[in-house]
């Protein structure tokens, strides 16, 4: 009971602190803008811990954060192996192949107006479909190892990336293209000097959407069959053994990997599209 009351107190304290910070004159500074969500996150974790211990929730339903942290620290080798198998091999491999293929296809498609008219609606349509469902088929074709996961990722990221790149390559306006023409620039010259830079914000948008899709594809595909290593495999078997602390540890890894992957692409974007209004703000 003490723990539950303590949890309520901690929640109120965190909220009070945040409302003071958010309504203070310093709220616009970068430090406070990072501090407020951080305080919120820590408050949630502490309340979670206190409630689980106070109400004696069974480990099977919800492990306390400290238990998860302990499990995380004690199984770093396993987690690293799973990370390497699922993220580095499956997701990243498929991401590079899929985005690369989509980018090259987009350049080809862009040269023909007919193809673009035909492919864009189809691509937009396919991008909205539950493509994860191809996982059982691709696992059957490419075997249980990471190749099949990479294949799922390729299929998943291809169309969002294609649609974004094709849209980006149309971004230049007539005046700019005419200017390149008066310079007597060839197709590839005007492509590299004008149209590709103009397309970059769209390309990076596609790349950023694809980071999340890549992780989803690689993890879900492992539910359909995998070697005895990998994050999806570990999640589904640990759930079967009711070792939920391990599941949470894997989810922490997935969350870290996902935000790091996205952050990395966003950083690269920043250095490439520094001229774009959205980056100057």
């Amino acid at each position: 009971m003490v723990m539950v009351i303590l949890a309520i107190l901690v929640w109120c304290l965190g909220w009070w602190l945040n409302s003071r910070l958010a309504n203070s004159p310093a709220a616009a500074t970068r430090g406070v803008q990072l501090l407020v969500p951080a305080i919120f996150g820590v408050t949630v974790l502490v309340v979670w811990e206190l409630l689980v211990r106070g109400l004696e929730v069974s480990l099977v339903i919800l492990p306390a954060p400290s238990v998860i942290a302990e499990r995380f620290a004690s199984s770093i080798p396993i987690l690293w192996e799973d990370f390497a198998q699922t993220i580095l091999k499956g997701a990243l491999g498929g991401y590079v192949i899929g985005c690369g293929a989509a980018f090259l296809t987009a350049i080809l498609v862009d040269r023909s107006d007919f193809l673009r008219r035909g492919l864009l609606p189809v691509g937009n349509f396919v991008a909205a479909l539950p493509i994860v469902g191809t996982a059982p088929i691709l696992v059957m074709w490419f075997g249980f190892d990471w190749h099949s996961k990479a294949a799922v990722v390729v299929v998943m990221v291809f169309f969002p990336m294609l649609v974004n790149t094709v849209a980006g390559l149309r971004e230049t306006d007539q005046m700019q293209r005419d200017l390149m023409q008066t310079y007597a620039a060839g197709y590839w010259q005007s492509f590299f000097k004008l149209r590709l830079p103009a397309a970059l914000p769209f390309v990076f948008n596609g790349l950023k959407i694809s980071t999340t899709l890549a992780l989803i594809g690689a993890i879900v595909a492992e539910f359909f069959g995998s070697p005895t290593v990998g994050m999806g495999f570990r999640i589904s078997t640990s759930v079967g053994q009711l070792a939920l602390d391990m599941v949470w540890a894997e989810i922490v890894v997935a969350a870290l990997a996902g935000s790091a992957f996205y952050g990395l692409v966003a950083l690269i974007e920043k250095s490439f599209t520094f001229w774009h209004p959205s980056q100057r703000g």
């Binding site: 909220w15 945040n18 409302s19 910070l21 958010a22 309504n23 407020v36 969500p37 305080i39 919120f40 996150g41 099977v60 339903i61 919800l62 007919f114 193809l115 008219r117 035909g118 492919l119 609606p121 189809v122 349509f125 909205a128 479909l129 539950p130 994860v132 469902g133 191809t134 059982p136 088929i137 696992v139 059957m140 074709w141 980071t211 999340t212 992780l215 989803i216 993890i219 879900v220 539910f223 359909f224 069959g225 994050m231 999806g232 999640i235 589904s236 759930v239 009711l242 939920l244 599941v247 949470w248 894997e250 989810i251 997935a254 969350a255 996902g258 935000s259 992957f261 996205y262 952050g263």
Partner: protein, 305 residues
């Protein structure tokens, strides 16, 4: 009109490619069958065939090409096989039958819609809170944005098991997964939408001495509609994926995900493909339906979309 022709050409090209791909994909199985049936096959033993490339096999056994499109359990079923299976399992089977795709689709659809309704409702509520409270904005919004970059669908198997252990099963666990998958896109989109009115418009309402709730109902909510529908379309697609993935660890009784899993256990490729197409048709229909509602709502409100 020109676009329609272009789309049809692309579709025709895809189907042609598909038929072409069936030949090398299925040739080994067809030749093994033909050999067992006593036909003349070059090379004669399965062992010799294993070392050859698929293209080479096709070139040496041109008589078998037709058979690659009518196999019982092909590695890649031909388009017409999938279409026939879809027709058989939707139109010719009774809806109550366990083998009817309509029955399975309806199981998945009900979980999707329930979850979508919960997720959207909560998402809109949270967005309203975020727009009106600075504290909530600063504490919750960054987490909602970060949640878009992580594969939260990985939580699905755990939610199923945890809810099962406290006695909840059936449609609810799947709906919970659908709900949280559609929740975050709706929050992020709706916050953007509720902030869409510029300060001139907000100031105008202030000069009318409109209260906060009047400002919400008369300005913020109407101007958020285009954003809301854009994120609803993302949300419903995510909900469907959530419901399908939620069916995987339950031991696969009913639903499109169960059909996928059962098909992959028993090597019933035609069944997998037809379930996949049923899911695709369902997703397309849901997104199209939302598009239609969007058009009606926006027309009614005088927004030109």
């Amino acid at each position: 009109m020109k676009s329609v022709i272009a789309v049809l050409t692309v579709l025709a090209a895809i189907i042609t490619l598909w038929y072409a791909a069936c030949v090398p994909m299925n040739i080994k199985g067809v030749l093994d069958g033909a050999e067992r049936a006593g036909a003349e096959v070059t090379p004669a033993t399965p062992k010799a065939r294993r070392d050859m490339s698929e293209i080479g096999l096709v070139a040496k056994n041109t008589f078998a090409i037709g058979d690659t499109w009518v196999q019982e359990r092909p590695r890649l079923p031909a388009p017409h096989q999938v279409a026939v299976e879809l027709w058989k399992t939707t139109v010719e089977k009774k809806i109550t039958s366990k083998r009817s795709l309509i029955y399975h689709a309806q199981v998945t659809l009900s979980a999707t819609l329930l979850g979508f309704a919960i997720g959207t409702g909560l998402g809109i509520l949270l967005a309203v809170g975020i727009v009106h409270s600075r504290v909530m904005d600063m504490s919750v919004m960054p987490w909602a944005i970060v949640s878009q970059t992580i594969p939260i669908i990985a939580l699905a198997p755990m939610i199923i098991v945890v809810l099962y252990s406290i006695g909840v099963q059936g449609i609810i666990p799947k709906a919970v997964i659908s709900a949280y998958l559609s929740f975050f896109p709706v929050v992020v989109g709706m916050v953007k939408g509720l902030r869409a009115p510029d300060s001139m418009q907000l100031d105008l309402l202030k000069t009318y001495s409109a209260s906060t709730s009047q400002g919400f109902w008369k300005l913020r909510l109407p101007s958020s509609m285009p954003y809301l529908f854009a994120s609803l379309k993302i949300g419903i697609a995510a909900s469907l994926v959530g419901a399908i993935v939620g069916e995987l660890p339950t031991g696969a009784v009913a639903g499109l995900g169960a059909r996928l899993l059962a098909g992959s256990y028993y090597g019933q490729t035609v069944q997998i493909w037809s379930a996949l197409f049923a899911a695709a048709i369902l997703a397309a229909a849901l997104v199209a339906l939302l598009g239609l509602i969007e058009k009606l709502v926006l027309n009614r409100m005088g927004v030109r979309a």
